[in-house]
Symmetry: C2
Subunit: 210 residues, 2 copies
DNA sequence: TAGATTGTTAATCGATTAACAATC
DNA sequence: TAGATTGTTAATCGATTAACAATC
């Protein structure tokens, strides 16, 4: 039943965009066409159609796709159907912002606790989330069977903290540091690369402004 | 002299990675081989070589590339040689974090001021940066010839604020909201898409954990 | 029946990778 | 001279786009 060929990364990256539109449409309409989605996003209609086919949903010719079925399929593929608990390490500027970002819930992510090494912060709550000593990370994380760790520590300690996370049973690291982490094959690392993004912006700006 | 064919986006995204390594090497060595760079980053040697060729630098067979020449070429291509001033709009959690993030200077970005509509925050300083009323954005930005606007406002007002930025003479928007902005062709928008990144992470996690 | 929209197969395009001669 | 490394040309690979028959 389940398709063995996995969905491509570019497709996965577009799924949240589709999801946002589908959620908008859901209350008012039962079906949606790939044309409507592509128009709103400024994408090619065929690309949307290919993506939807890729996630294993079939539509009805002349009618479109069932909105709720699409939502269900995307949620399932992204694991948003069962909210994923995560912990965050590093409560600097970025870490605090991530703790306070209320948009994550919409993406099925729930940060349950934060960790830091600064004794002045340990024991406090930031945006309602408790901050623990990084020393107890391992025991706490293992006990709660948490799989996702959000890394927002200074670059110098990034690898070391990543090792700690993996030892604690974390399978996936969302890496907000600019450090390329060295991990074994069974650990997933997803890099949020602000430098890369800024590089694209400024190279384009450079290109037009001459 | 200047090549007309522009460098591809994937290449541009890797340039900051190369830069980090080059800066490390600069004090100790005059030359560097593509092999050394690729080893450190876990990339293919030929890919690094192609990228470096793409930015218009030539190496010496059996010797490698001149480190300082490479740094200069990348800085120039990314516009990091002349620091770029930027303004930030929206001083919520994320906005404040970005104001406090000291890593941007390394990437040639300097946030000179922030704007918000909340009267309680206007007039304050956040991480040393003054916060102005969004009403004066246009006059201030135009006067200072600022080209880059960082958008960190709530999604609902993103398009509206983007319009204001463009009216104020902003040419490039670094968009931290999840909203797809509708802009004319001569405005550059670079999206920081956390939802896409999280989608990749959780889909991979989903894939291994079954 | 006509029109809209999907599903499928093929073509295109661009990035990555491979191969190998040229050069220090 | 031998070894390391580059530059260049060609091959591969995967994503996007095009074309068109099938279906409601």
């Amino acid at each position: 039943m389940k398709e063995l060929t996995s969905v491509s990364v570019p497709t996965v990256r577009r799924l949240p965009l589709y999801m946002a539109i589908l959620k908008e449409i859901e209350p008012t309409s039962e079906h949606v066409s790939s044309t409507l989605i592509s128009d709103r996003l400024g994408l090619e209609q065929i690309q949307v159609r290919k993506d939807l086919a890729g996630i294993g949903v079939t539509g009805q010719p002349a009618v479109g796709f069932n909105v709720r079925e699409l939502i269900g399929a995307i949620e399932q593929l992204l694991g948003w159907d069962n909210i994923r608990d995560a912990i965050l390490v590093g409560t600097g500027n970025l870490g605090q912002a991530l703790l306070g970002y209320d948009g994550f819930a919409r993406y099925g992510l729930n940060i349950v606790a934060a960790f830091d090494s600064n004794p002045e912060i340990i024991g406090m709550k930031i945006h309602g989330k408790p901050v623990f000593d990084i020393e107890v990370l391992s025991s706490l994380t293992e006990r709660m069977h948490i799989q996702i760790g959000i890394l927002a520590v200074p670059g110098k300690v990034a690898q070391q903290v990543a090792d700690t996370l993996i030892e604690a049973g974390i399978h996936a690291i969302w890496n907000f540091t600019p450090v390329k982490l060295n991990v074994s094959d069974n650990t997933i690392v997803e890099q949020v690369d602000l430098a890369a993004s800024l590089a694209v912006l400024s190279s384009k700006l450079k290109a037009v402004s001459k």
